[in-house]
């Protein structure tokens, strides 16, 4: 589903001394099927933005379009439930929301609420447990016997079981060790491709944004600060630093390389192999311009 924000502003505690704009005149477009990373500090408006995506909040001003659904200050879609069945949100630390006796019941909770019939729920449960790389034998166990990483997978399976078209991930790797982080992100990427999802990843990790996203949106104080491909965004290191954001390690290296060697190797999201070859050409002086 295409997602479009048109001049969206969201005001907290309007007409009170505490009134402030969490999101301020935000416009962007996410084409269906893309993988978008949203980056910004605490307080940049990321969480408020996410809450618009499944109608948890409606904009104070402007319009949000999600597929055929339209949200404005005046009109909420009548079929909000349908919107929520099509936009799955994995909130931060989703394992805190597990509550059922068994993993199977926990996964079934979402689809049951959306009126999916039992047979279909059983089929989906088996499918999603496989998709999050957990063994089917676990289904009858309590979710609370699992390790932290496994619990998170169960919670994610519960979101996948509603078969969303848009998957919103709010810092899905927070608190996991590097191996767990990589496994979870690779899993989402696989799902994104296999299921043709539109994926929206809220993250602090520039490395993840570089690795997985085909479009990056950077927020600062509720406003859009920058937008584009990894190359567009990460080439502007000074601008990023002005809002205390880092660049991925490879970009940092290329900047230092230019300072030290005096020759520039542009960042174009090259593979490590390509980068090594480019460095060799510069260092060995086989550059055709010389």
């Amino acid at each position: 589903m295409d997602i479009t924000f048109k001049n969206v502003t969201y005001i907290y505690q309007r007409n009170s001394p505490f009134e402030h704009k969490a999101v301020d005149g935000l416009s962007f477009h996410i084409p269906s099927g893309s993988f978008v990373a949203i980056i910004g500090h605490t307080g940049s408006g990321k969480s408020t933005l996410i809450q618009h995506l499944n109608g948890l909040t409606a904009p104070s001003e402007g319009e949000v379009h999600i597929g055929d659904f339209k949200l404005t200050n005046e009109e909420k879609p009548k079929n909000m439930k349908e919107l929520r069945s099509r936009v799955g949100v994995v909130f931060q630390y989703p394992e805190h929301q597990l509550f059922e006796e068994t993993i199977a019941k926990d996964i079934a909770f979402g689809p049951e609420n959306f009126g999916v019939d039992q047979k279909e729920i059983e089929r989906r449960t088996k499918e999603v447990i496989r998709q999050v790389h957990l063994p089917e034998e676990l289904l009858d166990r309590s979710p609370f016997d699992l390790s932290g990483g496994q619990k998170r997978r169960v919670a994610i399976a519960g979101v996948l079981a509603i078969q969303p078209e848009v998957l919103v991930l709010d810092e899905p790797t927070a608190g996991l060790d590097p191996r767990g982080q990589k496994e979870i992100m690779d899993m989402f990427y696989e799902l994104h491709q296999q299921e043709g999802l539109t994926t929206i990843l809220v993250t602090h990790s520039m490395e993840d944004a570089l690795k997985y996203a085909d479009h990056i949106l950077i927020l600062n104080k509720g406003k859009k600060f920058m937008e584009g491909t990894a190359v567009d965004v990460f080439s502007q290191r000074e601008a990023l630093q002005s809002v205390q954001l880092d660049v991925p390690e490879v970009v940092e290296f290329l900047i230092k390389f230019e300072k030290k060697i005096g020759k520039q190797i542009p960042f174009h999201n090259q593979s490590m192999k390509e980068l090594a070859e480019e460095i060799r050409q510069v260092v060995k002086g086989v550059d055709e311009h010389e």
Binding site: P178, D246, F257
Partner: protein, 279 residues
Amino acid sequence: MRRELIEFRNVSFRYDEQSPWVLKDLSFTIYEGEFVAIIGHNGSGKSTIAKLVNGLLFPQEGEILINGIIVNEETIWDIRREVGMVFQNPDNQFVGATVQDDVAFGMENRGIPREEMVKRIEETLQAVQMSDYRLTEPHRLSGGQKQRVAIASVLAISPKVLILDEATAMLDPKGRKEIMGTVSELSEQRGLSLITITHDLAEVVQAERVIVMNQGEIWEEATPREIFSKRNELRDIGLDVPFVAILAEGLKQVDLKLTKEPLNQEELLEELWILHSKT
């Protein structure tokens, strides 16, 4: 010859008789003033080592000596005076209403006189660059600042060894670098032994020696440079290989000869600069 400070002699540990061994016949020595990194992925047994050192757990087989004293129920209070620990989540270790109360807590438990406490609070907060925050409430601090205070609290009881058990895991890369800089400086100034337990290879760079744990056993014991050169093997046991080591590997494959395994970007750039100026 440096004095031995921590010694593991054929230590095996498991949580109960039905469980598999977490540590298997483990032996190693850490010397006074030494900076050692213990690295391994989750479940490799690395955190169990930390808990054994200060008697939070006891081994089923073998023995552990700290400064010549065997760790057991009778000696743990003496041992804990020698061993300072900082854990992963700073929020779990705060007890004081202000930063200085928090630093005082460990000293109060050890019955250190007030004048001495005041002196040490000042000293240790200065050492971790947190003097300006003496009266701040801990929950107002950033993650990195909290860990600094936690380190100050431990330093205040003047231990012989400081153990950081994944103490930077919840910090961003910048916070991580700063904390590691602070502790390695402190260990040099005070002749303190430093053990950092981590899964982040970038954090072992400053260590003199690295112990790599895998499935409860020592997989390798070597300098950081030697460890960095074993990229494929590290990946096999679930560790992330740092960017600079991956790039060094790529450069080798395009026949760019480096004289040594680079530990950071600066070392690699230095080599590239020399190669470049030769052509």
